[in-house]
Symmetry: D2
Subunit: 345 residues, 4 copies
């Protein structure tokens, strides 16, 4: 078993990492860190637990430690669910101390020497680690996973990009409340409402997507334009995608490409890899957030309504994914599994 | 006072027409028609009233009549809120009988000789009435208002189209439950959910928009591609719009064009005309459905987040409107006011 | 394996029975019946499936049969999730044909010779079956489970009743949408709303509770007064209970009695029996519908806020249960397991 | 015009007071106070405005002042919407400085010399002001209105208490999100959920109700037992009431008493007095929160489902009121109107 530490363990994503690692075949949580006011308290007392079921018993009674490498010196892998502004420096401290940091934070995602991994798409970006170690003179490493909306979008784009090429992407999101963390959005602000603004989200989708789909050295050569909106659902981000392809793509060929799609995690049989990264629904009114967000135990994205888009002879479709599982905690864990499988951990 | 009859008076849109005509300075409801099983019942007993407040007293005790011209022979204007499949024939019967039919139904919207009016945009399309009468050999007329999402979208497009030209429009909607009528969407289907399908809605947006923004004889020469979604809000359709303009449009110039925009209803001072057809919000997280849907007593649309769209050097923005008021009942009434003002009634 | 048939298999409760029997160690679904218009269609095509995940594969391709004994002659146990008005006669037909009918319908619940079973409370009421067979001259039998709200309430009352006696019970419910079936409550009627009326529900709670807690021959000698309300939650009925006890009951003694409580299903180790029928929460703001409704895989009820009630020196508390699992499908299955274990099947 | 100051003007209740006083015939807002960090900012910039429509123009540009008497020395009446812990001392400071403080805060409600006014019920309690001034040696005065749930409950009890007497009251509430202020309840905590705990609410209902319905010197001699719950609705508290009356009360007699009920505000024709303090609904599924909360511009309570309660031959019914209007801001204003009318201001 590999010993794991979690930074930001009391937040929504941190809680979910704790939950998903409960009973994990490879990783064992031995340390949980959170903000100073909680240090020294038992995890079960400090956490405002919002995951269904009980706090996993192996973590419940652990005392929360400082967000410092010396407080986690026995851990072989560090999961970071820190807020971006804290993550920036802290994650570097851990990498400097020789730790492999698997981060869900946005701080280092766009650093040229940091892999931004959505493992079914670009596992070969792990090659950046050598570069990173050389430049930064550290033995550890930082590996990141994308913003939740980007993770979901990019997975659906990959088979199309490979087979038909992409010229540009318009995407409009309907995002869940859990994406804003806890306490997040006030109930008075969202019940019977839609809020057409999520800070930084559009920029993240527009910058991160080409990096993920590009080569190790160069972003993909298409552009993304996003409009991001919060709707009153608990979990699950839905995205309406309009895209212009390089070669004309027939609807049935797109469906085929998505259904055939599979990546390195499936090949390696990683424990958290969904059998099918993309599930295609044929019913005309699917995917639906409530019905489909847990597809593949929340690790698959679900695509539906694949249809012709008449303006550029392109394609439009709907993609849905679980923002906290595939889009955050689960993707971090899948990254860690990939790192272990490739002997970085 | 002009005597008015209402077809489909017990549905959600019919109820709202009854409400908005309560105390109207020009129109007086003298007859309400609904499906056969309700004929003979008092309106107050037949209606499952879903509008805030009481059933207007002048209508509450009227007996529901058949959807037949002879049952409304004293009415000078007929408001139709019938389902499309019934509207087709029934509205023709009324026009044949010499009535002016102001219809919210989709049945005749795309008929080349039927005006599809969003009165701030294309009041000159009333000229089609002569054509219609000549061809169809009737003294009455059918005038329609657009689908709710289209009404809202087209209003926001008009000043941009006039000033900069439009090449194409991508639009993704987040639509309210009331758009599906009553009982409409089952609560189990929509609480904590988003449904990415509304039957016929995308086609309506794609076909109706160019007709409205075109000349009397020719649709506008841009294309619309829509993706339509139902979200759990009661009233108010929000739309994310991406558009490529013919001439480059600076954000501040677009704001200026929208704020300066005004149409025939404002010039004529029609009773239901909002002071400003388009209200521009400067706050970065507006418009919001719950906060802004009643802008201009529900007759204005609210636009916000006007920003550059990087793919085609275009513009993206959010537009919100009240689907039952601006998008249906209120637009029908504004059409009737225009018709009276132009002496068609 | 015991062969099982399901009546009303396409409704919400029927769907859940199908789901809960998927992989059940004792029962195997061999026939599904529904209303005439669906007969002959495959289950997967006829059902508007509202349970998370896929239709269980062993049932998905079964053809729907008539609600007639001859269409299910191979089944050894019949689960009925029929609407009350149909259940009345149909269930009798099946019992007449020698079948054991385990019914969730209200039709026969108050028949003096029909057991109304909440198995942790009154498994001894099975003795009524002999009576029933004698009187009705049939080889089969009808066994019912209570109304969902009653199931949840009565379970929480049982240990108090046994230990302290009960004089009377005031109960006010906050009930989930799924309790109304599908399509059930219109979304426009319940979003941002509370509806203080559920047809027949208060009467069911008032009559059924004393029957369940009584002896085989006589209802318990306390009275229940209920007020029932629908709130916008998907699953889970919450109930605020005020009760006057015969002997003064201290809060800690009530907690103890509830935590110690266990019944025949636990003793027999029935497959669907929750480890603890009543889970007591100590946090001051629990149980909560969303967080606790799946306690014991939905078969436990959760009690919290047990506190003194100052008017009659009584007790007040909150009880929550999953209306579709414990309150319907799961309780029917637990009844069937009890029947098998007692060799009635 | 009487000059008014508002303490806690940026909170939800403070905002509503500002809104309701916009265009008020007697009161003119000349000063708004809020917590230190907002002092000096314009009201429109400091407030996170959550009331429909725009910030009233006469207040929008006022600079926020300190919560100190000297900052409001021109005001003749002070509305307090302060949090309880701050209200305690600050309200005394204002009264000491000679101001009439009309408070929505709980701090002084149960002080024996402070009137707890629900003006249709106990306007004669104003007599306590003399007592208060004598004891506390100040020229000003503090007058309070009850907790929101209590205001609504007590209004419905008054005609029954007067006509039949009351032995005891069990009440179970379903309370709106706006009752928790802003930001209040996190959306993740309440969407698809019910929370059976509101801090201090049950105690307030149990203590305040007898004080309001009692004489100037003595609380009423019945007991109240409350269970309070938060449900996902925006505005409007619904309460299920079970009550034992001294004399047997027939349902039709209760309806009559409620419909005939009227109080001092109606007699005096106060500007904010609803025509009918209690509106009785005959439909079996009313009142409903969304449909009825604005009855009497939010100043009436709506009662329905008045029916026999079988345990004590009592009565049970549902009462609904707007928690922010009748239950807070509107009741404070009605109190101020009463004070002016009685020449205390």
């Amino acid at each position: 078993m590999i010993e794991a530490g979690i930074l930001g363990a009391t937040g929504l994503v941190g809680q979910k990492i704790v939950k998903l690692l409960d009973g994990h075949p490879w990783f064992n949580v031995i340390a949980v860190a959170a903000s100073e006011r909680n240090v020294g308290r038992k995890y079960r007392d400090a956490v405002k637990y919002r995951v269904q079921g009980d706090v996993p018993s192996n973590v419940a009674d652990q005392e929360i430690v400082d967000i410092e490498p010396k407080a986690m010196d026995k851990a072989d892998v560090i999961f970071s669910a820190l807020p971006a502004e804290i993550a920036n420096r802290k994650e570097e401290d851990f990498a400097q101390a020789g730790k492999i940091v698997v981060s869900n934070a946005s701080a280092h995602r766009m650093d040229p020497d940091v892999p931004l991994l959505n493992p079914e798409i670009n596992s070969e970006h792990l090659a950046l680690i050598d570069d990173q170690r050389r430049k930064r003179k550290w033995d550890g490493a930082i590996v990141t996973n994308p913003n939740c909306s980007t993770t979901i979008l990019s997975l659906s784009l990959k088979p199309i990009y490979d087979k038909f090429g992409i010229v540009n992407v318009f995407v409009s999101t309907m995002q869940a409340l859990s994406g804003a963390g806890f306490p997040g959005v006030a109930s008075l602000d969202i019940l019977d409402n839609t809020i057409p603004f999520i800070r930084g989200e559009e920029e993240k989708m527009e910058y991160e997507t080409p990096k993920i789909l590009g080569s190790v050295t160069k972003p993909a050569d298409f552009k993304v334009s996003a409009s991001c909106h919060r709707v009153p659902v608990v979990d699950g981000h839905m995205e309406a995608v309009f895209l212009e392809t390089k070669q004309k793509a027939r609807v049935d060929a797109v469906i085929q490409a998505m259904e055939d799609f599979s990546g390195e995690p499936q090949k390696l049989g990683l424990p958290s890899a969904p059998m099918k990264p993309i599930v295609v629904k044929r019913e005309r009114d699917r995917p639906q957030t409530k019905l489909d967000r847990l597809e593949g135990r929340g690790m698959s994205v679900t695509v539906g309504r694949i249809r012709r888009e008449g303006i550029h002879e392109g394609i439009k479709y709907i993609v849905l994914g679980h923002n906290i599982i595939r889009g955050a905690a689960g993707c971090s864990i899948l990254n860690a599994e990939l790192l272990k499988s490739k002997r970085y951990i």
